[in-house]
Symmetry: C2
Subunit: 210 residues, 2 copies
DNA sequence: TGTACATCAGTGAACGCGCGTTCACTGATGTAC
DNA sequence: TGTACATCAGTGAACGCGCGTTCACTGATGTAC
């Protein structure tokens, strides 16, 4: 791979470098200088593509959410609408994303959204949340689950997010080394969604018949 | 309040200053120099009481957990063992602690525990978690809740933690401005604990008779 | 096709800054006599 | 009770460092003719 004077893909290369450093340094702040070193450019180069360091961070967060969304989409579309496997797939993607890149996960969810600029991070976050919640709401609608579908969706999200956080932060490990996160999520999903009472609706009847 | 050459309470004063700065700067790293300024001492003074900056942070985290534990203890002991209000009180304390000092809350739960030194932060964390989980386990035992009490406790913890995190990080707000966190936790507690089937046990019979 | 030139993504050196930490010191305190 | 002295919690100046950002520049690229 030859390195010419003009990089060509520097903008994305810097975002990737930042993401890598965030993951490697796990929680400790990364430095823009390190990202430049990793991308093989001078420390002044980023300023051709970004206003400041924060703009790179925002972009990393946005791409993180986009990644998470596309993984969730990919895993769910393997199953038909209304399949409980779709819900499980979303939960798995969420948890595995957190475990795979814990520092990025923390950064994504705690990144303050800037109301001044058009915030790509907030937009990507909203889209990701909408997809996750939408899957649960669809399940509720299709199966005629009794109750506020939106609230049920938020509850599942909350549970999975809590499980992901406590796992990557090592808090479960403090309590006991053998806590099975997947089992916690699975049982939670049972009680917060799958076991909920249902009413007969045309859609539910169709779903039951399949 | 006179300021003599010898401070007298500098150790605790620095811990308090650090905690205050952590809360004020909300997520951004605080500087030891600022803490010294706040405590009104030179930047060399901390090194009489702490090996390095990290030792202060560890102490702040430990005291944070101790605070949370004692608040939970105080709020629960107003109700008799087995009262559902005890569970609700623990949940409220947890959520309100997070809302009150979000940056400290984040730091407490994501602080890596150092296996080298005797880690006061990890110890305080474990004690806090043990208290929270113990309350739920007690409830299960007293009421003869069917199922793995420990797992039910971890599920409630997970849900409340997720709710606290998504609240303080502004993620609920991204989804919708009118999400009622308390309602999410309350309904979650219903489905994950209060509505669970019970078996007759001497303790459950006694609790029902009261 | 070949040349002149405008563009602009890079360079590399420098900046001011605040950081955590160290050092030799100073002076308030408490104790021994 | 009064004095001498050891202790040690503070001082304040300095350190080396890496940071984010800026600056005048350079040289590769693509376009007009």
């Amino acid at each position: 791979m030859k390195r010419s004077y003009h990089h060509g893909e520097l903008r994305q290369a810097l975002i990737d470098a930042a993401r890598q450093l965030i993951s490697e340094r796990n929680g400790n702040d990364f430095s823009l200088s390190d990202a430049c070193r990793l991308a093989g450019v001078s420390t002044a180069a980023p300023y051709r593509h970004f206003a400041d360091k924060n703009e790179i961070v925002t972009e990393v967060v946005a791409q993180g959410f986009a990644d998470m969304s596309s993984r969730a989409r990919k895993e769910t579309e393997a199953f038909p609408p209304g399949a409980p496997e779709r819900i499980q797939a979303v939960g798995s993607v969420y948890l595995n994303f957190a475990i795979g890149e814990p520092a990025l996960f923390r950064m994504m969810f705690s990144h303050p959204c800037d109301p001044a600029q058009d915030d790509v991070a907030a937009t990507a976050g909203k889209a990701c949340f909408a997809y996750v919640l939408g899957e649960v709401v669809s399940y509720c609608t299709i199966h005629g689950i009794v109750g506020d579908a939106r609230m049920i969706a938020v509850q599942l999200w909350t549970m999975v997010h809590g499980a992901a956080s406590l796992t990557i932060d090592g808090d479960y490990a403090k309590v006991s080394p053998d806590i099975d996160v997947a089992a916690i999520i699975a049982l939670g999903a049972e009680r917060l969604l799958f076991q909920l009472p249902r009413q007969e609706t045309p859609a539910a009847a169709r779903a039951a018949a399949v």
